[in-house]
């Protein structure tokens, strides 16, 4: 019997080619989008799940609050790991990994081997426990001893390949600008998505003793990520409480010893390592971390798109039930039981879904490179199909196939099973009696489903327009400084270069295409630091934690940041260094200062400094954030960047000059340069990615809904051929008839738009609240979206109605 179901199912689908094509196309697109989103979300969930002791590993984060200014950060003091290791029972291992600026991919270190220079982006520091917690696969070397001795370095396989090719790396000596390291291990990080990102790790014991002592002493110098592996017997909450209590005692002693006036608190938290990737609310955290809310949004979109595609199938099938009612009636007369009929429908649905699945997977495989580019990932359908790490994707697909087939088949089966064979076998009017009522109910259900489809479609259009407008707004928003024609060059972490940085800058400036050159420690758009400051010369006033911006001479002039009062930093080296401070307006307000210029101002615990000027607020980070209070320090000796402002219209010339000069001053070193505007633009890369995804998802969902509406309206309009013939004979004009046919569907679309509006308004307002600067949602966005959807729907419905209306009435009247 089952074979018979398949045979009949295939014949039905082959006979109704157009109908089958519409269904397969819609489902294929729906499934393809679902698979893309699934793979995307799965790739995020895979982060940090592969460690052997995954559930025992925790990261420590902290939230401090000073004078009402509180901040959550991923960094902790260096000393925390040793406290944990030495003072607590149940701590199996504790380690720390030093912070390297993850937001600046141009910030590279150079390594020399065999006279050849290699650029390595992220070299971090960790102690011997690191590889006992994070059990990377060691291709060479031994995890237990790799980071024990000073001047040891463990590199990842990519770095090893870059430097040594296929030769063994272990035992070789690599030279940085600071010292020489012995390669003690090569690890394989591929296929292991983790929030931990580094190219090489050197042993902490390589740090000189004095600096190490400072690090071990300080309770407030946040430099490291701290990880701990707890014994099974330890209750994490209890542990968190105990070590907070312990640290508080040490902090109090440190404050007293250093004579700090600190009013505030510091609270440590522990989080499971597999959740780190989903924590997007901390400063100095891994840039690969994601907002879990966005993942939920994508999951909901995936389900909605799938729902939209399923609705097509259900609607077409129930609409066509009229046509099949005679067959079903006959089967009933011949003794088919309801479940046998339902099974017939489910088999037909299964065949369509199966075809759609195969085509969808082929489509996914075909479009994967483009999708990877869109989401900046390296996803692979085949890898996921055979991967058993999280949840077997094959099983997800099978489950999806079954669910779609059953849903798609049981709705029409339900409608058809309610037919009384007596009504359908002998031409009883479809619009009268109980049968008419059943059809009426089925019609209402179809309308309801169309409304859901268009709600999703219009909602997606609205969201896309709002995201687009917001990003446009950000692009055009006045930042408070002039980023145009400004280039940012990364200064090599080479003390030799820094010693001659002024001569290099002179050479760079010495060209007609260059207007200004300055060195600086911080640049807008890059990571900023926070420091403890104190107003006044005594510690009578409590310390404050404020963002600081280390700049060189000429920083404000180059970026055209206006002075409100006082002066810029003096152009005499040494004059303002460590003693002169410039504040922005937000800092003045934050500190509640009436007179500003000349007020004593210092690093916590230091004396002799003062405020020399106040500059206008500017947005140094993304417009997601308000302008933070900011202290500018003069730090030409630790410049990480050189900023070059080129003359308008002479950018090519300037770039060529910079590149030539760089070769000279670095003896052929690589130039890492980026335009400040594109760096600022990259702050919104996440938002732009979201816009792109919304745009494509909208296209898909609108297209799928249109396919459905086309199929449904075509069928139902065709059913009315005879009625239209009669109306034409009675004098109905083409225009009147087309309007009559189209209006019913347009009303549904309009209603969908009305329902979608408040929902989108609420959700998008929530999204916009994530920006300190944002557009306000305008009614025009909704009107445009609804009009757009109406236009698409009108076109879709017109295609068939024009054809039917133009049919010769004499032919139309013959249609039964």
């Amino acid at each position: 019997m089952t074979g018979n179901y398949f045979k009949v199912g295939i014949r039905v689908l082959v006979r109704q080619k157009g109908y089958t094509l519409l269904n397969v196309a819609g489902l294929m697109l729906g499934i393809a989008v679902f698979v893309f989103i699934y793979l995307f979300i799965e790739s995020e969930i895979r982060y940090d799940r592969f460690w052997s002791d995954n559930e025992k590993i925790y990261r420590i984060t902290n939230e401090y609050s000073l004078e009402g200014n509180s901040e959550k950060i991923a960094l902790t003091p260096f000393r925390l790991a040793s406290d944990l290791r030495n003072e607590f029972q149940g701590v199996e291992e504790a380690t720390n990994l030093f912070f390297t600026d993850p937001a600046d991919e141009n910030d590279v270190s150079t390594i020399t081997w065999n006279g050849e220079v290699f650029e390595i982006p992220d070299i971090s520091l960790a102690d011997g426990s690191f590889f006992r917690i994070f059990d990377y696969h060691f291709l060479e070397g031994n995890r237990d001893s790799a980071l024990l001795k000073p001047n040891s370095i463990v590199i990842n396989s990519t770095t090893a390949k870059k430097i040594f090719g296929d030769k063994p790396a272990i035992g070789n000596k690599l030279r940085t600008n600071l010292r020489e390291y012995l390669v003690t291990g090569v690890i394989d990080m591929r296929q292991k998505p983790s929030h931990l990102n580094f190219d090489a790790i050197v042993s902490v014991s390589s740090i000189n003793e004095k600096e190490l002592k400072n690090l071990e002493h300080d309770y407030f110098w946040m430099t490291c990520y701290t990880y701990v592996k707890l014994a099974d017997t330890v209750n994490p909450d209890d542990f968190e409480y105990r070590f907070n209590e312990f640290e508080r005692v040490g902090e109090a002693a440190f404050i007293q010893e250093e004579e700090l006036n600190m009013v505030g608190s510091m609270q440590y938290f522990i989080e499971s390592v597999s959740l780190v990737h989903f924590n997007s609310g901390l400063m100095y955290d891994s840039p690969t971390n994601v907002d879990v809310g966005a993942l939920y949004v994508f999951a909901v979109i995936a389900l909605f798109i799938l729902l939209t595609a399923s609705i097509n199938y259900i609607n077409l099938a129930t609409a066509r039930s009229l046509k099949r009612s005679r067959e079903i009636g006959m089967r009933k007369v011949l003794g088919a039981l309801p479940r046998q009929l339902a099974f017939q429908y489910i088999v037909e649905s299964l065949i369509i879904t199966l075809i759609a699945f195969v085509l969808a997977l082929a489509l996914v495989e075909w479009l994967m490179p483009q999708f990877n580019q869109l989401v900046d990932k390296n996803l692979s359908l085949l890898d996921s199909l055979v991967s058993w790490e999280i949840f077997p994707f094959g099983i997800v697909l099978l489950a999806l196939l079954s669910i779609l087939s059953v849903i798609g088949g049981s709705f029409p089966a339900f409608v058809l099973n309610s037919f009384k064979p007596a009504h359908v076998l002998k031409g009883t009017s479809f619009s009268s009696g109980k049968f008419g009522k059943q059809q009426f109910t089925a019609g209402i259900m179809r309308h309801f489903l169309v409304i859901i489809q268009y709600m999703v479609s219009i909602g997606m259009i609205m969201a896309t327009i709002i995201v687009y407008s917001q990003i446009n707004f950000l692009k055009n928003h006045e930042l408070g400084f002039d980023a145009e024609n400004v280039y940012v060059i990364n200064v090599p972490r080479d003390t030799n270069f820094r010693q001659h940085i002024n001569q290099s800058m002179d050479l760079l400036a010495n060209h007609g295409s260059i207007l200004e050159v300055t060195s600086t420690q911080n640049v807008p758009g890059y990571t900023e630091g926070k420091m403890l400051f104190q107003v006044g010369d005594t510690n009578a006033i409590p310390v404050q934690t404020i963002n600081y911006f280390g700049v060189g001479y000429g920083f404000f002039r180059l970026l055209n940041i206006p002075l409100i009062s006082g002066r810029y930093f003096n152009d005499f080296p040494g004059d303002d260094t460590a003693t002169g401070f410039i504040l922005n307006e937000a800092a003045v307000e934050f500190l509640g200062l009436d007179t500003v210029v000349g007020v004593p101002f210092n690093y916590a615990g230091k004396k002799g400094g003062k405020i020399v000027g106040v500059v206008r607020n500017f947005n140094s980070s993304s417009l997601h954030r308000e302008v933070d209070p900011m202290v500018f320090l003069l730090t030409p000796h630790v410049s990480r960047y050189i900023m070059v402002k080129a003359a308008p219209g002479r950018l090519e010339e300037a770039e060529l000059h910079i590149s030539d000069t760089w070769k000279k001053v670095t003896s052929g070193g690589t130039l890492h340069m980026i335009s400040l505007q594109s760096k600022i633009g990259s702050l919104y890369s996440g938002d732009k990615k979201m816009l792109n995804l919304f745009f494509y998802f909208s296209l898909f969902v609108v297209f799928i809904s249109s396919l459905g509406l086309y199929g449904l309206s075509s069928f139902l309009i065709q059913q009315r051929t005879r009625e239209i013939g009669i109306r034409r004979v009675l004098g109905g004009s083409e225009k009147q008839l087309i309007t009559m046919l189209a209006l019913g569907y347009l009303k549904l679309v309009f209603l969908s738009g009305l329902i979608a509006t408040p929902i989108v308004y609420f959700l998008m307002n929530k999204w916009l609240e994530g920006f300190a600067y944002h557009i306000s949602i305008h009614i025009g966005y909704f009107i445009v979206s609804i009009l757009l959807a109406l236009l698409v729907a009108l076109f879709t419905v017109l295609v068939r109605s024009v054809k039917v209306v133009n049919e010769n009435p004499s032919v139309a009247l013959k249609v039964q």
Binding site: M1, N4, V8, R11, V12, R15, R326, E327, G329, M330, R331, K332, V333, L334, G335, A336, L337, Q340, K420, P421, A422, L425, K426, G427, S432, G433
Partner: protein, 229 residues
């Protein structure tokens, strides 16, 4: 023995506010092996009566016994089982399933009865042979003439050897030659012992029956015996 017994059967169609009495006070008995023609003008309730007898429609009051079973007391599933074992249907518009071949259409009732494949094959092939449509067994209904389609429909109706055949204007869509062929088939079946109740407008078709029942406005107005064995 009566294969069918109805007593005071009444059927009312309710559409919005309009109530139409389709059948009233129908006392109708049919003996095993009988061939009854039901005649009357359009809308007199012939088909409604046939549908009720075939358990594909309900009635409002009165009783109906089929093969000694009180149909009113049967659940839908029990009616389905009773129907598929005992009744074959022939319709004016054939009601063949377009997606199935001639062979598969005839085979379908046996599938629903749970016959084994081999038994089905033997039965269907023999029947198609007998009905002289074996050479069309792989064709689809739309590839056949009306007469051929009705032959298939008759074959499908009798394939499970039901004791009762309900035929609703079986020649209504056929020309006289094909109509006569079909009537000859029904006649032959009746002679083999199958009870037949046939709704018809045609005096010629009614002439094949043994008894003619006349319906008018939902009531049996007279009955007469047509011919003797």
């Amino acid at each position: 023995m009566n294969i069918i017994e109805t007593s005071s059967l009444e059927k009312i169609f309710q559409a919005e506010s309009v109530e139409t009495i389709a059948l009233r006070n129908i006392n109708f008995n049919v003996k095993e092996g009988d061939f009854v023609a039901v005649m009357g003008p359009s809308g007199c309730g012939k088909t409604t009566l046939l549908n009720i007898l075939g358990m594909i429609d309900d009635w409002n009051t009165g009783s109906y016994f089929l093969l000694g079973q009180d149909v009113a007391k049967l659940k839908e599933k029990q009616r389905t089982i009773l129907r598929k074992k005992n009744i074959g249907f022939v319709f004016q518009n054939f009601n063949l399933i377009e997606e199935l071949t001639v062979y598969e259409n005839v085979e379908l009732p046996l599938q629903y009865l749970g016959w084994k494949k081999k038994a089905r094959q033997e039965r269907v092939s023999a029947l198609l042979e007998k009905m002289q449509i074996a050479h069309r067994s792989n064709m689809f209904p739309l590839q056949l003439s009306g007469g051929q389609q009705q032959r298939v429909a008759v074959a499908r109706a009798v394939v499970a050897n039901p004791p009762l055949i309900l035929a609703d204007e079986p020649t209504g869509n056929l020309d006289s030659m094909h109509g006569e062929e079909v009537m000859n088939l029904l006649d032959a079946l009746n002679k083999e012992g199958t009870t037949i109740i046939m709704v018809t407008h045609s005096q010629r078709d009614a002439a094949f029956s043994r008894r003619v029942v006349h319906l008018f406005d939902g009531q049996i107005i007279n009955e007469n015996l047509n011919k003797l064995d």
